[in-house]
Point group: D3
Chain length 126, copies 6
């Protein structure tokens, strides 16, 4: 195990996803701890730690992609929370999801917006 990538990734995961991220990692521990480790090392240790694109923009990119793909709503929920954690406004999150009706169709945008609604409700913002 590469300590430094793992440690950098773990800090980044904590900064971005908070408890929700740790829950995902925890839930993988019994079935496939290596997938938990790779999730920390590669996306968080390698990619989110990179310079050249600020964390707010990275989360906007992720929310756009997950809304458009439309088949990974648990991850979309984590990253809507993450976007708000790293400083995106509620309006920026909604606009990103809304814009996906152009690129992935209205059903994808609607289903993404219902995840936004769920997150905002849980955070007492709606």
């Amino acid at each position: 195990m590469n300590k430094s990538r793992y440690e950098a990734g773990y800090e980044k995961l904590t900064e971005i996803d908070g408890e929700a991220g740790h829950n995902v990692i925890e839930s993988l521990k019994d079935v496939c701890p290596d997938l938990a480790r790779y999730t920390i090392e590669f996306p968080f240790g390698d990619i989110y730690a990179r310079e050249g694109l600020d964390l707010k923009s990275r989360e906007i990119a992720t929310i756009a992609a997950l809304t458009a793909l439309g088949n990974c709503q648990p991850q979309l929920k984590v990253h809507i929370n993450a976007a708000l954690n790293v400083g995106c406004t509620v309006k920026e999150v909604k606009e990103t999801v809304l814009q996906m009706c152009v690129y992935a169709g209205f059903p994808a945008a609607l289903n993404g917006m219902f995840v936004v609604k769920e997150v905002l409700t849980e955070r007492g913002l709606l």
Copy 2:
């Protein structure tokens, strides 16, 4: 035809996509002018004209989605140009595409990066 949405959209299309956008519209004129009109009115007149998310972030969201979907490379090419037109740095565009290896897999990111390469070559930036 709704003049004001069309006119607002046409200006936005010109601002964002420049000649490439007009080429798409032009190429639809004989087969389905209404699709050309809707493309101007709805994505550009309604969505890109909205407040709450700046144009740079909108293009990052679009590039992320189109890279992740992986089946609309002509549009990805238009929007990589658009991102550079509205002020994204080359580095921001590359980072957005690169990040998609996490959410849509390495083939999607690789194919997106080859479109970046094509655009940068055409613009004399590579």
Copy 3:
């Protein structure tokens, strides 16, 4: 807001989707009323209001697409109801979903057919 597109769309939504459509619109009111408005104006006010393809054929096209995409079952449910509302027979709906095993694989067709089953059960037709 474009009154006439909105009004035409609202009537079309009522004609096609009935209560289910209104529920979707209602559930967007607090989180993103503009997405509700666009959903009425563009798909229903612009597209479904067009001539050249009758409503039954439009619903068959929509059911086919949503079954094939496979990641928008709430919308598939709305449009299976819509198809029956605008005069498609139960048999035509089933045949459309069944045919998708050819173009999107058996899992997509099976999952679509289970939504048909849910709708028919709710309508007392099974």
Copy 4:
């Protein structure tokens, strides 16, 4: 080999896809003749031969699905021709593709429309 399904499928393929369909079958002969045989037996011998949905509606469903999926343009081209062969009007084909901007986004609809343009040009209809 099930003679009757194969024969029924071959006739149906000829009726619907004409030369284009036979070219697909022919091009599989050296690499995987069994895939050619299954393509005749199952989609054409089993599915398109069914009652309950007329051939025009079946082609509208197929065009909608292939446009929405967005990654099978050779098959979309065959079925745009097929739709015209079995009696769909050019307008019905265009409307079906256009409508997909609602369900799969504008890039999918645009790319589908460019295939329509290609087919209409080849048939001398544009």
Copy 5:
């Protein structure tokens, strides 16, 4: 109805999917028995009965595809069970799902692994 394809398929379905497969077939009986019949005849009677690729490899291919597509989790669950039924080790199943993070992204691999977890828990293997 082609007795021999149906019978061969039914035996193969029983060998591979056991009770879970029969439940799928049973649940289609009232809404679309022909889809049940085709599911037995074509995937199981025609494809899984073929030589040239052993059943373990066929299930690895299926698990990979369903994890990557990401929108057919009920079928993924059936085929994770099927893989274990025909002799794949738990480790082989996990590795197949894990590998999909490379080709379809981490969300697809994570969601696939949670289905593995569900199956292993039900089988008392976790």
Copy 6:
């Protein structure tokens, strides 16, 4: 840069993909060398280097996924070659692609088979 992951990945890439893999890496050098490095380190250094699933099965899983996704034909071509390089028979490759008509539809399987045809022709095997 993690030397050992990179070096292990480079060896694995050479073993599996040969010249085609190196061409991909080479073509990324000017536009995004970090994506080239990650492609070596993560898929090849981390994933393909793992135990628990032999290389032949890993390539079958990859071919299945790429055929089913249907939007990454350059990578499918590389991995059809890779499968043959690591000991899969031509028949096993064809069967894997053929089987995808069940899970992702006939267009995906047909388009995958045409890539098989291209590879076999280039290798003088057809």
